[in-house]
């Protein structure tokens, strides 16, 4: 492959595409960009046929690789460093810096005698975060952008072999990669002596082991080596001793998909977006009580309010915003006071949360924060690999206490124990899963302490979520007797004549909540105390 040939394909296919006309490619949940969005990573998704390398080339594909190969690896690293690109997999480590570390580690050791690769690049497409699917969108919709990013990264750090580790639950992504890799090889964009520059590079696919923790880079390396994926302590960092003990750079899909654009448009262009320390764009997967859910890509520094109200269209049913959970199960819940904080890596951490991979769940007044904490803890304790006691035993104890709290069995001592546990688990756990597992608890306890206290002291769930910890009452003054609740009640325990205030027969109410949802006039209130039939059986 030469630049001329690449150019020829670009021109040809662009003509062909023009002839074909506007024809969006189907791409799952990805909707057309909304005002406020800036698409860098997602720019080709839904725009090109991901199974045709020519269409990627038509949109400047592999020109960045050609450009990179005309630079020295050091120059590539400098370019990416000055762009300010940070890892999108969660921790936000500067990508260029990581390659530099690997490159230095590689230089410091003798070349392997057995002819095995001296260093590796791994693209992390495990995306185990429930609710996050940005990596999938890119892998399915624009696999070549990831491959090109990988080739550039590998050139910069000094790797000749790489693996792309894809979650087992992403068969389409795997399929598209299985199509894309041979296509790139066919055109000489992977393989030996790429662009005649003496650079050899190839990619193999590895299918994930199906555990959240396998997305953690050291566990992922174990998993590729064929062992049970469990995090190892760092140092040594993978950049120094990673896959098969060789210098290894692990980079996230989204991180790598940014790289060709940076090379093409320049570091300054990229650094022109975002905040002081967080440059470029970030994808978010918005879910929960918001009108427009789905995948978005926005510049760093945007506020939660802009995301939720401008792009997301506001809270569902125009209810009250309560909190935004960012960063997935290891992130935290941010209350309304953070709505106007510009979002970047630092500000989220300062607020007790994380950027994570970009999960964003919007919660409203009917979400119980204790239950939200319990929900995430249920996930993490189940996903804990079991290697270190603070996490494997600690998250279990946290879950047990949170479960008690949501079953009206909590005590004040439990509150102290929760604090004791969270403080120490984050301090003593081996990996970021254990360390971060406490964030949902810590942030909800910090920002919604009164909800915890209501659960413990009054055995009351003010949001009306925890069974047996509240009942409904129809407010006579507000009720206009429309009868919607009466019609919905499955046990027929609501009485009242038309146009007259209704009343719930508490002795027989099972607190299913159908009436509450049915009332259009906010005439049903949540009150402390269970009804006889809503009490939970003892465990």
């Amino acid at each position: 492959m030469t630049i001329e040939e690449l150019e020829r394909i670009r021109v040809e296919v662009n003509q062909e595409l023009a002839a074909r006309g506007e024809q969006a490619m189907p791409n799952g949940e990805l909707k057309p960009p909304r005002p406020g969005e800036v698409r860098v990573v997602l720019r080709n998704c839904g725009q090109i046929n991901p199974e045709r390398i020519e269409e990627y080339i038509a949109r400047d594909g592999y020109f960045a690789l050609c450009k990179a190969l005309n630079m020295t690896p050091e120059q590539v690293i400098d370019e990416v460093k000055s762009s300010g690109l940070r890892g999108r997999g969660g921790a936000g480590f500067p990508a260029g810096q990581k390659w530099l570390f690997a490159r230095q580690a590689l230089a410091a050791r003798p070349a392997p005698a057995d002819g095995a690769p001296a260093a590796y690049l791994i693209c992390n497409g495990d995306e185990g975060d429930p609710g996050a699917f940005m990596d999938r969108a890119v892998l399915e919709g624009d696999p070549h952008s990831v491959l090109e990013g990988m080739a550039i990264a590998a050139y910069a750090m000094g790797a000749t072999q790489s693996y792309i580790y894809v979650r087992a639950e992403y068969p389409v992504a795997v399929e598209h990669l299985q199509t894309a890799i041979p296509q790139a090889r066919q055109l000489g964009l992977l393989g030996k002596n790429i662009f005649g520059k003496g650079f050899d590079f190839d990619v193999d696919i590895r299918i994930g082991a199906g555990a959240f923790v396998c997305g953690e880079e050291t566990a992922l390396i174990d998993s590729i080596e064929g062992r049970r994926g469990e995090p190892r302590p760092r140092p040594p960092f993978p950049a120094v001793s990673g896959l098969w003990g060789k210098p290894t750079s692990v980079n996230n899909v989204e991180t790598l998909a940014n790289v060709p654009q940076i090379l093409l448009k320049g570091a300054d262009w990229f650094a022109g977006m975002g905040t002081e320390k967080s440059k470029g764009t970030k994808t978010f997967a918005i879910a929960g009580k918001v009108k427009n859910t789905g995948l978005i890509e926005v510049p760093m520094g945007i506020t939660l309010r802009e995301i939720i109200y401008d792009i997301g269209g506001g809270i569902l049913n125009d209810k009250q915003f309560k909190a935004a959970q960012t960063g997935g199960p290891l992130g935290g819940c941010l209350p309304a006071k953070y709505l106007d904080t510009p979002i970047d890596f630092e500000s989220l951490v300062a607020a007790g949360s994380l950027m994570g991979s970009g999960g964003l769940i919007v919660l409203d007044e009917n979400d119980c924060m204790v239950d939200v904490a319990r929900f995430f803890m249920d996930f993490t304790q189940d996903e804990s690999c079991g290697k270190c006691p603070p996490c494997s035993l600690g998250t279990r104890r946290l879950l047990e206490i949170l479960t008690r709290l949501t079953r009206a069995e909590g005590t004040e001592k439990d509150m102290q124990t929760l604090e004791y546990l969270t403080e120490n688990i984050s301090m003593a756990s081996l990996c970021a899963l254990g360390q971060g597992s406490v964030n949902p608890v810590v942030t909800t306890m910090r920002h919604f302490r009164e909800e915890y206290e209501a659960h413990v002291l009054d055995k009351f769930c003010p949001s009306g979520v925890c069974k047996g910890m509240f009942h409904y009452e129809i407010i006579a003054d507000t009720c206009n007797g429309c009868g919607a609740c009466r019609l919905k009640c499955p046990d027929k325990v609501i009485k009242g004549a038309k146009k007259e205030p209704h009343e719930i027969d508490l002795a027989n109410c099972i607190v299913c909540g159908d009436c509450y949802k049915a009332c259009k006039f906010a005439a049903i209130a949540i009150r402390p105390g269970p009804t006889p039939r809503s009490r939970l059986p003892n465990l």
Partner: protein, 364 residues
């Protein structure tokens, strides 16, 4: 050489993990998952220390020292974290020290004692596993397992067998053979390496249960009586009887590693079948003494005393030699006996009988 500070004291080191440098400076850092014969893995979090500039505490067993590093190994923060880990471990432990085989030799018990963890603040689920006594030699009490994985690593790194692994995740994770079968049904070779590194009562020598606690045992270092590798092992004695054989990590041949015969093959020593008195063929006894004698437990033999036995052997050998010449006598020495015994036997043959008819099963 680099300079670092441990607990305010400046010291020099050429590299290595904090744990080793501290040890070289006389500072003990508690450990559970660490074992000198195994690669460190930083799992148990008992060796956590404060490293200046790091938010989270770091495991001393894996964290390498660097120039200018400042480490606190016993600060209140560090002690609190260790105590926390111990409280967690205790919350999932049967607390059976009274009858536990490892009492007095248990790393967990020692640390619980040192950190004064009288009770755990965490009430919650505890693993309940039946005692696994399906296999010979190795008793597995997984309720006492702290999941330090030393056993798994020994089976992998030392023995290269990989009979056992972790199954399940998180709280439910458990050390087991694949599909949780008996060890006999796995590729386990019953070397007992896993027992030798287990810090708790989770893996113990089945045949030694109830026979003696660590402080009641005297150890004598000797050599395995089986194959030609010549492994060093420690015989554990109580009341003058062998009750167990254990690894001796200091020797230079096997470095603490034993095979099934060396570690578990000692029971024959105290077998009631052992010969305890000289015996003589009844017909021979009759010929010598003219009496019937005391029948031995083997047909056709009577018990005799040492004087008679030795005299008879000497007389008979000498008679054969006199009658038929020295080469009518043959002596078999033994590849099982000591050098000293073998030296004497060939000397007996050559010097007293006058024959070179001395050999042994050298070729087996």
């Amino acid at each position: 050489m680099m300079t670092l500070t441990i607990n305010g004291k400046r010291t020099e080191a050429s590299g290595g993990a904090i744990l080793d440098v501290a040890k070289a400076n006389g500072i003990r850092i508690p450990t559970l998952c660490h074992h000198p014969a195994l690669a460190p893995q930083g799992a148990c979090r008992l060796c956590l220390v404060e490293v200046k500039g790091m938010r989270a505490l770091q495991p001393a067993c894996t964290f390498p020292v660097t120039e200018g590093m400042e480490v606190q190994t016993d600060s209140p923060k560090v002690r609190a974290a260790r105590k926390f880990v111990l409280e967690l471990l205790l919350s999932d432990h049967p607390q059976d020290c009274m009858t536990c085989e490892m009492c007095g030799n248990c790393a967990l018990q020692d640390l619980i004692y040192e950190y004064g963890v009288k009770e755990t603040p965490f009430a919650g689920d505890r693993h309940l596993y039946p005692l696994d006594d399906r296999d010979p030699f190795i008793l597995r009490d997984m309720e006492k397992c702290i999941r330090c994985r030393r056993c798994i690593r020994a089976c992998d790194e030392i023995q290269a067998v990989n009979a056992i692994t972790m199954i399940n995740r998180g709280f439910r994770s458990k050390v087991a053979a694949a599909f949780d079968t008996r060890l006999q049904d796995s590729n386990c070779v019953f070397c007992g390496q896993c027992i030798s590194v287990c810090p708790t009562g989770a893996l113990t020598e089945k045949d030694s249960h109830g026979l003696g606690r660590a402080w009641q045992i005297e150890k004598v270092t000797t050599i395995c009586p089986y194959c030609g590798v010549g492994c060093t092992l420690d015989l554990n004695l109580r009341d003058g009887r062998v009750i167990k054989a254990t690894s001796n990590w200091n020797d230079s041949v096997n470095r603490g590693v034993l095979c099934v015969k060396g570690r578990f093959g000692w029971q024959f020593l105290h077998n009631p079948d052992r010969l305890t008195r000289p015996l003589m063929r009844s017909s021979l006894w009759r010929e010598i003494s003219g009496t019937e004698g005391t029948p031995a437990k083997y047909d056709g033999f009577v018990e005799t005393d040492w004087e008679t036995a030795l005299d008879t052997v000497a007389d008979k050998l000498s008679a054969a030699r006199t009658a038929y010449g020295p080469d009518a006598v043959g002596i078999l020495a033994s590849a099982k006996c000591t050098n000293e015994e073998n030296y004497l036997v060939q000397k007996l043959a050559r010097r007293e009988i006058g024959t070179n008819n001395v050999d042994h099963c050298a070729r087996l």
